[in-house]
């Protein structure tokens, strides 16, 4: 028998063992298929799920705050009128920095796609209700926030805002403030600065129409939001902001890297990650990853056990074939190789079918559960196919040893 004929016979036996109809082979393919489908689905879905989760965590709002470095005593803007009003300057304006900072933060956008930076200026002003019919003729001290309200809203999608488009200079007020002053969208408010303009004279005033009422459950409910330029003019603080709220996409490591980058490029300014957002979301994501990994491991172990049982059945069922092959002079190694190759073939078939099924399932799941289009990761295909083949080989490791114990004479007697 030539080497070539030997090889050819081997592959003929192999092909035959795969094509002949046997429930065990079908079951083996099914087991591998389920395992492969699960692995393909989870591998493909996991990246998307993780990205989606990170996105969900961004709903907590800004995760990095850029603020002026701690003011030195005496180094603060000194506004005497505010003191006269019973508030010290540090309370009217808690330290400001140049507006330019926000551009330099935004310049890092090429470093981290999807980075959002919103400038804010906090100033205490007096508000006077000037509704169509003044119902409450008194001044109140409130915190005015100068910002780009639309951008701030994008940063905090959980805020509930009731809006009505308005002509002219408009503002947004917190729900608590609105209910206290009995104001609603469409009404006007008059704001008055607490300090004199640098040129002297009366404190500046401004009239704004309310375009939105927002409800957050936090201190924003008691603030009034103006366009940044309008508040800068009112408070005579042109070109100044109090802080920049930055939302950095990505996980803890990426946020930390960006914080370092920002700190280097912005000397004299404090860049701080908001601990409870940055570190908590990292922790929750880690937990979910552990859960997914450990559950997948459990399921794959069970599948490997199933496969061992199935392979045992396959080998036991063919004891007679083994006896015949051995009687004809085949070595144990050759017969074992035949079974292992058969297992690999079954594994590959199961892996293929499973991968197709898994990707379909993942696509459905991604669309229905996470509202995203599945982005296929190319390396999952070779990974899953290879893993399926390996899984069967490992599962067949013990069953093929049965071959050694098959005694042709005993098995074939009586035939």
């Amino acid at each position: 028998m030539t080497q070539w004929a030997n090889e050819s016979m081997f592959w003929r036996l192999w092909l035959r063992s795969l094509t002949v109809k046997r429930p065990q082979a079908a079951l083996a393919i099914l087991s591998v298929g389920v395992g492969a489908a699960l692995a393909a689905m989870l591998l493909n879905l996991y990246g998307d799920a993780r990205r989606k989760m990170t996105q969900e965590f961004r709903r907590y709002g800004a995760n990095v705050i850029v603020a002026p470095a701690y003011p030195e005593p005496g180094g603060r803007p000194n506004i005497s009128d505010a003191q006269a009003a019973g508030l010290s300057s540090s309370e009217t304006i808690a330290g400001v920095m140049d507006e330019d900072v926000v551009n330099r933060v935004a310049a890092l956008r090429n470093l981290q796609n999807g980075l959002a930076a919103v400038p804010l200026l906090n100033v205490v002003v007096r508000v006077k209700c000037r509704a169509p019919a003044p119902r409450l003729a008194e001044f109140e001290d409130v915190v005015a926030v100068g910002t780009d309200f639309a951008a701030l809203r994008n940063l905090n999608p959980s805020w509930r805002v009731e809006s009505r488009a308005q002509e002219g200079p408009s503002c947004a007020v917190g729900t608590h403030l609105a209910s206290r002053l009995r104001l609603g969208p469409g009404d006007t408010v008059e704001l008055q600065a607490m300090n004199q303009p640098p040129s002297g004279g009366e404190p500046l005033r401004g009239v704004f129409r309310i375009s939105s009422v927002l409800s957050t459950g936090a201190f924003e409910d008691e603030q009034v939001f103006l366009p940044l330029a309008a508040l800068q003019e009112l408070a005579s603080l042109s070109g100044k902001i109090s802080l920049v709220e930055v939302s950095v996409p990505g996980e803890t490591a990426e946020v930390e890297r960006l914080v370092g980058e920002l700190g280097r490029s912005l000397p004299g300014v404090d860049v701080r990650p908001v601990r409870q957002i940055v570190y908590s979301s990292g922790k929750v994501l880690d937990t979910i990853r552990w859960l997914v990994v450990s559950l997948t491991a459990v399921i794959l172990t069970i599948i490997a056990l199933c496969l061992t049982a199935t392979m045992t059945a396959i080998v036991l069922e063919r004891r007679k074939d083994i006896a015949v092959m051995k009687a004809l002079g085949a070595s144990d190694r050759l017969v074992m190789k035949l079974f292992l190759t058969e297992g690999a073939g079954l594994g590959f078939l199961g892996g293929l079918a499973g991968f197709g099924l898994g990707v379909e399932l993942a696509r459905e799941a991604a669309r229905r559960l996470f509202d995203v289009n599945l982005s296929l990761t190319w390396w999952t295909f070779p990974a899953v196919s290879l893993a399926s083949v390996l899984l069967v080989m490992v599962a067949a490791f013990f069953p093929v040893r049965i071959v050694r114990g098959v005694e042709p004479a005993t098995v074939l007697k009586g035939e």
Binding site: R59, R275, T310, T312
Partner: protein, 437 residues
């Protein structure tokens, strides 16, 4: 006769029977483990999400406008309304009291340290509260904000002279753990507040020992935290608090949770009230503490709900995958054993047993095996879930009895179906052909 055959059959061929039972147990164990974790995961992840901070804030309903700049309320201490510290215990008396995980009261007063204007915040660090005669509850900032980082140690509430200094402020002041800082609190305005004998010299200086440096990334980095009693006494506001932050375990809000309360009929209202939505917990707090206004912090409450939803969906996928695997495990072993029993079928038939009689023997046997396998699998699976849960969450998973009938039912179904199919095929074979082997 039938029972005897079944019992005998179970007693003989122990190895093969054991293998089948093991298969069923394995399948059921996986289903149980994943099912238990899936049922538990919402609760567990929800606990992890608590580190984002409070999801309900409680303020006095009659309060004026807060002057909050950068998270610090700059109102003079005497203005505005207060809640009573004594009312805090009522938070643990609402309907969903067990869902209140932590809370902390806050009282901020303007103060001065080394010529620098700062905010002195009175709160609870870590305190054991007597809810009723037998029940205690441990709460405070430490429980409420597990993400806060403290360099050094958390102060003791009882000492009254220990404080936490925000990291930015500590840098500016050049102070470190173990040092003493002198805090000067402005006199309560116009002396309208009653001063009792315990008053700590009112507008005087007070020396705090820095026990730790607090880093949060938020406005707390610029503040000084001290025990509530001390701050209250310094400001002449004993027993008063400005705000309570509550961290509650909640169910993600759905459309029903947001429905207008005034439009619900009594039955719907009961359902709303008895579901731990953040809104209904806030409502119960308002009911229990008169004069309080409880508001969900949407940022936290809503994000939490969405994250929980996603995790729940992920778990659902796993539960389905686990069920499929379990069914597969059982089917693969049953098939392997039943196919080999064609000889027995042939023997029964040659002795004159009817087809239904033969089927009854085999199905009863399968039934008995699946009961045993299901029960064992449930126990093993619960143990697995328990281990896994400790590994992943650091907390054991509770046993869920709901899963037991499901697990055993699944085992029964798969075993009986799995044996019936090969059995049907086995019946068709004529006894003579099979017995010749």
């Amino acid at each position: 006769m039938l029972t005897r055959i079944v019992l005998e059959s179970l007693a003989r061929q122990r190895r093969r029977k054991l293998l089948s039972v093991a298969a069923i147990a394995l399948g059921v164990a996986v289903a149980t483990a994943v099912g238990t974790i899936a049922l538990d995961v919402g609760d567990k992840v929800s606990r992890e999400l608590r580190s984002f901070g409070a999801n309900i804030s409680v303020t006095p309903a009659a309060d004026g406008l807060a002057l909050t700049v950068g998270g610090v309320d700059y109102r003079p201490a005497a203005s505005g309304a207060y809640l009573s510290e004594a009312a805090l215990v009522k938070l643990k008396k609402i309907f969903w009291r067990n869902n209140i995980m932590a809370f902390a009261p806050f009282l901020s007063v303007p103060a001065e340290v080394r010529g620098r204007r700062i905010v002195l915040v009175g709160s609870w660090f870590d305190r054991e509260m007597q809810v009723d005669k037998s029940d205690k509850f441990r709460t405070g900032l430490r429980e409420l904000h597990p993400a806060w980082k403290v360099e050094g140690q958390w102060p003791e509430d009882g000492h009254g002279v220990e404080c936490l200094v925000g990291s930015r402020l500590a840098r500016a002041l050049g102070t470190a753990v173990g040092e003493v800082i002198t805090v000067e609190v402005a006199a309560p305005e116009s002396g309208t507040k009653t001063r009792n004998s315990k008053n700590l010299s009112g507008a005087g200086n007070f020396e705090f020992r820095v026990r730790g440096i607090l880093e949060t990334g938020g406005p707390e980095d610029d503040e000084v935290f001290a025990p509530l009693e001390t701050v209250g006494a310094l400001a002449g506001l004993e027993g008063n608090i400005r705000r309570v932050e509550v961290s509650a375990l909640t169910k993600p809000e759905d459309t029903f949770a947001r429905s207008d309360l005034t439009k619900l009929n009594p039955e719907q209202f009961d359902r709303w009230y008895c579901t731990p939505y953040v809104g209904s917990i806030a409502y119960q707090i308002e009911q229990e503490i008169p004069g309080a206004k409880a508001k969900p912090v949407y940022q936290v409450a809503e994000t939490e709900g969405r994250v929980l939803d996603r995790v729940g969906m992920l778990m659902l996928i796993f539960a389905v995958a686990a069920l499929a695997t379990a069914a597969l495990a059982v089917a693969s072993m049953i098939l392997a054993t039943v196919l080999e029993r064609r000889v027995e079928i042939g023997l029964f038939k040659s002795l004159g047993a009817t087809d239904s009689r033969v089927a009854a023997v085999f199905l009863l046997e399968a039934f008995a095996m699946s009961l045993v396998g299901g029960a064992v699998g449930y126990v093993v699976g619960s143990l697995m879930a328990w281990r896994l849960s400790i590994l992943v969450f650091g907390l054991p998973a509770g046993a869920h009895w709901v899963i037991l009938p499901v697990a055993v039912g699944l085992a029964l179904l798969v075993t009986v179906v799995g044996s019936a199919l090969p059995l049907g095929r086995g019946m068709k074979i004529s006894p003579a052909a099979v017995l010749r082997d």
